[in-house]
Symmetry: C3
Subunit: 156 residues, 3 copies
């Protein structure tokens, strides 16, 4: 079965919506059993320096990433987040799955309603299909903006 | 006839373009004869507090909303506005019509060319079809950013 | 052959990606042999004042525009740029080609990772097909934000 661009787009929108609506328990279901999730600075990527700002190397780590948000064990300044995902492209379809990219901007708003730019970056993704369901095998969030002024509490 | 995602997207882009180009007289034609248009803060929506920042409960009120812009009876600081609509999704197709959502960002630019974030929010819409034409039966603009520093003169 | 909306969208995303990835030598290939590229302020466009902020009236000028970036003969503050292209619409299909428009926002990030709004505007394009390949016959970048605080070194 060939993955369509609209499938990737709708997947990304649903995944972002879960984060924006703070339904964090639903986030791990977007990842395949074998998966990685990394947040990297563009500067590091361009110089092939692999140190990520945040990383999960298994599905369990992906679950852990949001578990602390759910349990309230992590104290952080709560912000409204909103993802704007554009420029989605399928890079290639290979045996390993479908490589895709998209530009992503996340705007944050304080509970007092003041908005600012939180994240400027891109998704560099590898999607696989499992039982006819699209899942993330690998997501690299590459940030142009890595001077994140609030803690990177919620995944991007 | 089933409503396609691309129909919703193009509808939203046309509606935004009318506002961006300041062709306000064309805006009411995007609404069904029976319609509502509300601008709400996300804070209020999450707490089920219904007080809107702006609301129109009939087509006549929708017409009135832009009539004052046309007649020049409303004095406000003129700004260039530009809508960036992303993450459009069909939520469900029901007897009442098609429920859809999208993320919307509006950037404002002064006539001197200085740009800033005006609105961060989402459209929560109900679309109906009348004589094969898609129309808004209900639009809720839910704002993350409700600290609007200029008057909410022009609809979002 | 009819041009599809998705063709235009993917064309724009590929063109933006070349600029974002600083692969400037690939940019002229998006233009037809006979082409124009102009950056204009919305203020001027609305008053039919034709003076552009930047313009290329031939393919050679388009090539020259990026040649100076490649050769390093132009000294400018390097910034990461990211294009967010939304609201893409086909305006009309005519003998001359396909007229299309889109809203475009470019965010810039310093190498220290601080992001800000660089460009708020729209593409007003005329696409032609040559040997089954979509190419820009004319691109007008109309800027709401013309108070560009860094030099307009890289095309938009």
């Amino acid at each position: 079965m060939t993955v369509q661009l609209s499938d990737i787009e709708q997947f990304n929108y649903s995944c972002a919506q879960v984060l924006n609506a703070e339904e964090f328990s639903k986030w791990p279901a977007f990842f395949a059993p074998q998966c990685t999730y990394e947040v990297l600075s563009r500067e590091n990527v361009e110089q092939s320096l692999p140190a990520p700002l945040m990383s999960c190397y298994s599905h369990g780590m992906v679950e852990d990433r949001v578990a602390m948000l759910l349990k309230g064990t992590l104290t952080y300044r709560r912000m409204y987040l909103k993802h704007y995902i554009t420029n989605t492209q399928i890079v290639s379809q290979e045996d390993a799955g479908t490589y895709a990219r998209a530009n992503v901007m996340v705007l944050q708003s304080t509970l007092e309603g003041v908005s600012s730019i939180y994240v400027v970056g891109s998704y560099e993704d590898l999607f696989v299909e499992l039982d006819g369901k699209l899942l993330l095998s690998s997501r690299k969030v590459v940030l142009d903006s890595f001077g994140i002024d609030t803690m990177l509490a919620v995944p991007i």
